[in-house]
């Protein structure tokens, strides 16, 4: 949609010449192997200059230094903080800042659910899960939560009963997780069956998918969804409402408007504006400099790149994220969390 809009306006103007934007999609299969195959195709066969993704940390780690950096390919990702820094100048983070997700979320939980203080990460045992647990534990300690344990599971796990039993034995009443929707749905369903009375704060961009697996009663009782935006909520920004209307008009009223749509839309527009400002499509350093200096045209509102304080380099889009729950069958976005700009 962003590409079509740019091209409909005549494309990107660079040094007085118009260029159309071409969009190429490759599937990384959410695996490291798939990421390598997709990145090889994009960089060496398709000749792309900017990559949106890969989404998974495992895929990014497999291609970041081996394919993207040697080719100076700017890549815009949603992975955890460790992928950013002065040694990775071509990596940009386009979604909410993960180093700030847990501090903000835990602060909100502490105010909203003051009895849920016995915390335990319940994470997949891969780079995403470990990174999530590290940030969670660091935030929880500074905010006075009692850490009663941490548990990790294989991504292929379907029977969570044994691990849930361990969590219940430890007396935890606040679980945190960055697991996938399918995993979280099963955890919630099985925790509910085992009588868990606490909360699970988890990544919930596909909140209804999670509910469909876990069941409505279990989801309403247990689940707090972060990175979860209901774009029909009154709590979102006007720009988000406008984007939602455009998106649904184009793809049909049943299309699912998610944060990824917003991130992708913003990224394309930010790149286009940076290229125009830089006045070049080939000089990567100039395009980076433009990205670092302009106000990025983001849906939530124009904002500069952030992250200097956190990473030692400005590479983070400044986005707030939603915290949602299902209440009486409805997806309610209860709050937007996160500082703008990212420090």
């Amino acid at each position: 949609m962003a590409v079509e809009e740019i091209n409909a306006k005549g494309g990107i103007t660079v040094a007085g010449k118009k260029y159309n934007v071409q969009f190429v999609a490759r599937d990384d299969k959410y695996t490291a192997e798939g990421g390598v195959a997709a990145a090889n195709q994009l960089v060496y066969s398709d000749g792309v200059k900017f990559v949106l993704g890969p989404v998974s940390s495992a895929a990014l780690l497999a291609v970041q230094t081996s394919i993207f950096e040697p080719n100076k390919t700017l890549h815009f990702v949603t992975s955890w903080s460790s992928v950013l820094g002065p040694t990775h100048p071509y990596t940009f983070r386009i979604s909410s800042e993960p180093g700030l997700i847990w501090p903000g979320l835990l602060e909100w939980i502490k105010k909203t659910y003051p009895n849920n203080t016995k915390l335990a990460p319940f994470e997949p045992n891969d780079a995403t899960g470990k990174a999530s647990a590290t940030v969670t534990l660091a935030s929880a300690k500074t905010q006075g939560f009692t850490i009663v344990g941490e548990e990790y599971y294989e991504r292929t796990t379907t029977d969570f009963y044994p691990i849930i039993t361990r969590m219940l034995d430890k007396g935890s009443n606040l679980w945190t997780s960055a697991g996938a929707a399918g995993e979280q749905g099963l955890i919630i369903k099985q925790a509910y069956e085992k009588g868990y009375n606490g909360l699970l704060a988890g990544w919930g961009s596909s909140l209804f998918s999670i509910r469909d697996i876990a069941g409505q009663a279990a989801t309403e009782k247990i689940f707090i969804a972060f990175l979860s935006m209901n774009y029909a909520s009154p709590n979102i920004k006007p720009g988000q409402t406008a984007l939602t209307q455009k998106y649904l008009a184009k793809y049909g009223k049943d299309a699912e408007m998610t944060e990824y749509v917003e991130h992708a839309y913003d990224t394309i527009n930010a790149i286009a504006q940076a290229v125009q400002t830089a006045g070049t499509i080939d000089d990567v350093a100039a395009i980076i400099k433009a990205l670092e200096t302009i106000q990025l045209p983001l849906t939530q509102g124009a904002a500069p790149l952030g992250g200097q304080q956190l990473y030692g380099i400005k590479r983070a889009f400044s986005k707030q994220y939603g915290v949602s729950r299902i209440v009486a069958g409805k997806w309610e976005t209860l709050a937007l969390i996160g500082p703008v700009p990212v420090p």
Partner: protein, 287 residues
């Protein structure tokens, strides 16, 4: 681990072990008769789950109808696979393995194209929990474990006490002698494949409501099944049942006790069995 947790882990292990056994039985049955390692078992397990999803969750047919449909359709597909693929490569183990892997891959990717990647949920007809003192038991798990047990018993009855079952055992024990006595080996192979695949489909259909349904859901259970048939003894039906229950307990008790790291104990058991008792707990050594 508290005594309550231990008891819950044992009951959960029994339930899961029974389903593991159903999956492994189909695999070991086909191997014992035909010498084929049916890697497509994972895809048939997945197909059974999708059949349950469409028949029961989407089209709202009765649960038992959906379960029978899963058994019949996966069984029929097994007949087709045997007739048109495995029969042609029966005498060459490597060819049959490659064909099996190819069928599995095609079916999984076909499911991805046809059904999409999003996990699907099948509502359970067995809801609620049974609370005994501080112990909580899921009615669904108990019921599905019970159905799994019924399937295992029905299968054992078929193999031991029916004419066709005895003919199958005869082919399994001595192919040439069975042929000389007039056994229709081609028919027996087809039926064995159909039954093996139907067991995979039944297990997938049963598990669909406990977990979720996606194109790659069968792969972890295929690995479990391989562990079971190696531990139980290649081709041994009683061995698969016993090993399924053992693996169910190992997974449940040790993970509850030690956490996810205990996943390795099933494989440690395989190594020990292969080193110290290569024919498995109840295998004949013939395989």
């Amino acid at each position: 681990m508290s005594p309550e947790s231990f008891l819950q882990a044992v009951v959960n292990g029994l339930s899961m072990g029974m389903i593991y056994a159903v999956v492994a039985l189909g695999l070991t049955f086909v191997f014992s008769l035909m010498g084929i390692i049916n890697f497509a078992h994972a895809a048939l397990y997945m197909l059974g789950a999708y059949i349950m999803y469409y028949f029961f969750a989407r089209w709202e047919l009765p649960y038992i109808v959906a379960l029978i449909a899963a058994v019949v359709i996966t069984g029929a597909l097994g007949l087709v696979i045997e007739r048109y693929f495995y029969r042609r490569a029966r005498s060459v183990l490597l060819s049959s393995i490659i064909i099996a892997i190819a069928i599995n891959t095609v079916m999984e990717h076909g499911a991805l194209l046809g059904f999409g990647f999003d996990p699907r949920k099948v509502p359970s007809i067995f809801t609620g929990v049974i609370q005994i003192s501080d112990n909580t038991f899921s009615v669904e798990r108990l019921a599905i474990g019970g159905i799994g047990l019924a399937l295992v018993l029905a299968f054992v009855f078929f193999v031991r006490y029916t004419k066709m079952g005895r003919a199958m055992r005869a082919v399994s024990q001595d192919y040439d002698a069975a042929r000389l006595t007039g056994a229709n080996v081609s028919l027996i192979y087809s039926l064995a494949m159909g039954i093996g695949c139907a067991l995979a489909g039944a297990a997938g259909a049963l598990m669909s409501s406990m977990f979720s349904v996606d194109p790659y859901m069968g792969v972890p259970y295929l690995f479990k099944a391989f562990v079971i048939i190696i531990v139980g003894g290649l081709g041994s039906i009683p061995g698969s049942i016993v090993a399924g229950l053992i693996l169910g307990q190992i997974d449940s008790i040790f993970i509850t006790w030690l956490g996810n790291i205990a996943q390795m104990f099933g494989f440690i058991l395989v190594i020990l069995i292969l080193v110290f008792r290569p024919r498995g707990l109840m295998g004949t050594g013939r395989a």
